[in-house]
């Protein structure tokens, strides 16, 4: 039993923190919020060089062969920096999706390109209904020769506008299937969906008779259900890690502010109303930490309670991060409500990830199914 980071993991965390402190300052985040594409090539190639883009992939695909705990360490730091860019979309959604279910040829082609930074992936995992259960997929895949044509509408597809290929679930005659689709393929149209977290980008993706070849199927036709469930669990836990990072940053800023901001002739942190709130924020952050890294370990190790741990993690952290980031604004008072002050970057990052990959209520129902059974 050892619930602590190894020396290598600590080293990784510190080096990610140092690189982001240098290259992903709030000024960079703000610049990218205004940028039409939304992320910078400089930081992207630095991420490739540092090995972050291939972190969870096998070495034969140019990856570092590390696990979910390490991936969550990186994600936590990205959340802490309100990082703008397609890291999560490319490495977690697309990359892990292919790593879990792709053919050797697909992995060869895409994972190496993701790891080197030359290609970006994403996945279109939710439709109009916002039901995160893959079984709810309504997009259709009709047989056409060796391949299929896809028709349907996907929503909240992260970073689709810069993706080279997207994982798209659709219902084929064989059952729920997963396809690799190029956003430039015939019949595909993207429309931006602009949320409050401007350092993150989403699109609506329409497919109208989009042709895909047989080799674009990921896994077996009709066999995508378990693969998607497995991918969604990983996405939920990595998103939680990012929310945890946003919460930590918000807490740190609140504590620093409470030490120096004076009212009634004293630092506001000396008032119990503020101090107790900060203590509650720390408790929530520490519990969220335990939830994220337990789930990351459990999924990685294939532990018996891995599915449960993923739902515990996403349901707990979704609300804990909301609470901590929101309390941070309250501790700051007026300045926390200004655009100029950076706090809202983290508040919005946590908020953006809260409903994605299943919100707290979705995952609580999954938990209830397991405990009631």
């Amino acid at each position: 039993m050892n619930f602590s980071f190894s020396d290598d993991q600590v080293l990784l965390k510190n080096s990610v923190r140092a690189a982001l402190d240098e290259q992903c300052k709030p000024a960079h985040v703000r610049a990218m919020m205004e940028d039409s594409r939304g992320y910078g090539d400089g930081l992207w190639s630095e991420m490739a060089k540092l090995g972050w883009l291939g972190l969870p992939f096998a070495e034969e695909y140019g990856g570092a062969g590390l696990g979910l705990v390490e991936l969550c360490l990186v994600e936590e730091e990205l959340g802490r920096a309100a990082y703008p860019g397609p890291y999560f979309a490319s490495v977690v959604l697309g990359g892990l999706g292919l790593a879990l279910g792709g053919s050797p040829a697909q992995k060869e082609k895409w994972l190496s390109a993701v790891a080197s930074g030359s290609a970006r992936l994403s996945a279109a995992l939710v439709e109009e209904s916002l039901d995160w259960d893959p079984a709810s997929t309504r997009t259709t895949a009709t047989r056409a020769g060796d391949g299929f044509t896809l028709t349907g509408v996907k929503r909240f597809v992260p970073w689709a506008h810069v993706a080279d290929a997207l994982l798209v679930p659709a219902r084929a005659p064989e059952g729920l299937s997963l396809f690799l689709v190029a956003p430039g393929a015939p019949g595909v149209s993207l429309r931006p969906m602009v949320g409050i977290d401007l350092a993150n980008r989403w699109s609506e993706m329409r497919l109208e008779g989009t042709p895909v070849k047989a080799d674009a199927v990921v896994g077996q036709p009709g066999g995508a259900g378990p693969l998607l469930e497995s991918l969604l669990r990983r996405a939920a836990v990595c998103a939680s890690a990012e929310m945890l990072g946003a919460a930590r940053r918000s807490l740190d800023m609140s504590v620093e502010y409470a030490k120096v901001r004076e009212q009634f002739g004293q630092p506001i942190g000396s008032f119990q109303a503020i101090r107790h709130r900060c203590a509650e924020m720390l408790m929530a952050a520490e519990n969220a930490h335990a939830a994220v890294y337990y789930a990351a370990w459990a999924l990685n190790a294939g532990a018996e309670d891995a599915a449960m741990a993923a739902s515990v993690c996403k349901s707990y952290v979704s609300e804990a991060a909301r609470q901590v980031c929101g309390d941070a604004i309250q501790v700051h008072g007026g300045i926390g409500f200004t655009w100029e002050y950076d706090l809202h970057l983290y508040f919005k990052r946590a908020k953006a990830l809260e409903p994605l990959y299943g919100d707290a209520e979705y995952h609580r129902e999954l938990i209830a199914r397991q405990v009631v059974a």
């Binding site: 039993m1 008032f271 119990q272």
Partner: protein, 404 residues
């Protein structure tokens, strides 16, 4: 990071489980039987495990201690007794006591031949413990103690008490306190049970009128009492980290069993979406407490002291317990309030916080104690704010002046 138990720990758990199966009494009817069970646990090496070997312990790892407590919770084993003696008084004597005190008291604490209580809180010194007024007056070879203590756990059966008393009212309040070992069997000591909201009396009030404490029974030096009480002591630190969670989990399972018989709005209550959300949330919170316990045990195993981190743990689980019991009451409705005449299918038969089989009503009422005793949630938040986050202390009026 590896959250599997080591093969060594798995084997140890198995040994403990087997031993419990063969040795555990089904019912404990009185204190003598509980003491006998305590003694048996001690002789098997499952009690006072964290104490150093030279004082009768096993020098066991925190994980081993946690596993024993966890297996006892799993088996529904009766609790041993003298927990304050084993958990706090003994370790205090080991660290601060004289050789004579160690020889005289330690072994009898472990064997429960002598039962101990802790004489700390007073009616006007709860969260502000250092405001205590019970006075110990130097009479040459002994002290005379006068004052009143309250919330004395196990006071009614204690042979001895670890006492904090004021020996110098002229100095700032934290500096004028001294620590003593006081014999409870003397005319100057009057112990009265304190009836709690549970209707039971796990706590007492203790009135001292010229109670005598020999000089040789002072712990440390004059005026060092506050510092001694503040030291994070205790060898039983793996303690109830896992056992607490196992107890919650068995209570949760019993709640689910009971809920299977109940309906809400014409449907089984377990099909009710609102109830399912609440059950899902509490289970998630319970799991998070478990993950946290594994994190704490990892620190302890590495020889790190959680220090003020203990305040985070205590705050988290005691507040959780209240939320959990409130949910149980919501689901069980009036069944959850029954103290007698409970239909068998709604009975709670796992240990409550004090180690007794009990009713939901009793466990619910007890959950109100956890966020008050051993430092209220508000005190824990002050500790977290000041010692972990480094927030400034509030301006306090009581740091400098004398107490009289």
């Amino acid at each position: 990071m590896d959250l599997n138990y080591t093969t060594e720990d798995v084997a140890f758990r198995k040994r403990v489980r087997t031993w419990l199966e063969q040795n555990m009494p089904r019912h404990i009817r009185n204190l003598d039987e509980r003491k006998a069970w305590h003694r048996r646990l001690y002789e098997a090496g499952y009690l006072g495990m964290g104490w150093p070997k030279e004082y009768g312990g096993q020098g066991a790892r925190p994980m081993e201690q946690a596993i024993v407590a966890d297996e006892m919770a799993r088996a529904g084993a009766p609790a041993p007794t003298n927990s304050l003696g084993v958990g706090i008084v003994g370790p205090t004597i080991v660290v601060h006591g004289t050789d004579a005190q160690k020889r005289r008291y330690l072994r009898k604490i472990l064997t429960a031949e002598e039962m101990w209580c802790q004489l700390y809180s007073e009616p006007n010194a709860g969260s502000d413990l250092a405001a205590l007024r019970t006075a110990a007056e130097d009479k040459g070879d002994h002290f005379f103690v006068n004052g009143q203590k309250i919330w004395t756990s196990g006071g009614a059966v204690a042979d001895w008490g670890l006492l904090l008393a004021r020996t110098d009212p002229a100095v700032p309040k934290h500096k004028g306190i001294t620590c003593f070992l006081m014999n409870m069997h003397q005319p100057g000591v009057d112990v009265r049970p304190l009836k709690q909201i549970t209707g039971s009396s796990e706590f007492c009030e203790v009135f001292m009128t010229n109670a005598r404490v020999e000089k040789e029974n002072m712990i440390g030096r004059l005026g060092e009492g506050w510092a001694i009480a503040q030291t994070t002591l205790g060898y039983e630190r793996g303690g109830r980290a896992l056992a607490r969670i196992t107890t919650y989990a068995s209570q949760y399972k019993m709640l689910m069993e009971a809920a299977r018989r109940l309906k809400r709005n014409g449907r089984p209550i377990l099909d009710d979406a609102v109830t399912r959300q609440k059950l899902g949330r509490i289970w998630a919170d319970l799991e998070v407490e478990r993950y946290g316990a594994l994190r704490t045990l990892t620190m302890l195993e590495r020889g790190e002291h959680p220090g003020a981190g203990g305040s985070l743990t205590k705050l988290s689980y005691s507040e959780f317990e209240k939320r959990f019991m409130e949910l149980a009451e919501e689901i069980l409705g009036p069944y959850g309030q029954l103290t007698d005449g409970v239909p068998p299918e709604f009975r709670l038969e796992v240990d409550t916080a004090v180690g007794d089989h009990g009713t939901w009503a009793y466990a619910f009422l007890w959950s109100r104690a956890g966020t008050i005793y051993a430092g209220s949630s508000e005190i824990q938040k002050n500790v977290i704010g000041e010692r972990i986050l480094g927030l400034p202390k509030e301006t306090r009026a009581d740091r400098a002046g004398a107490t009289r």
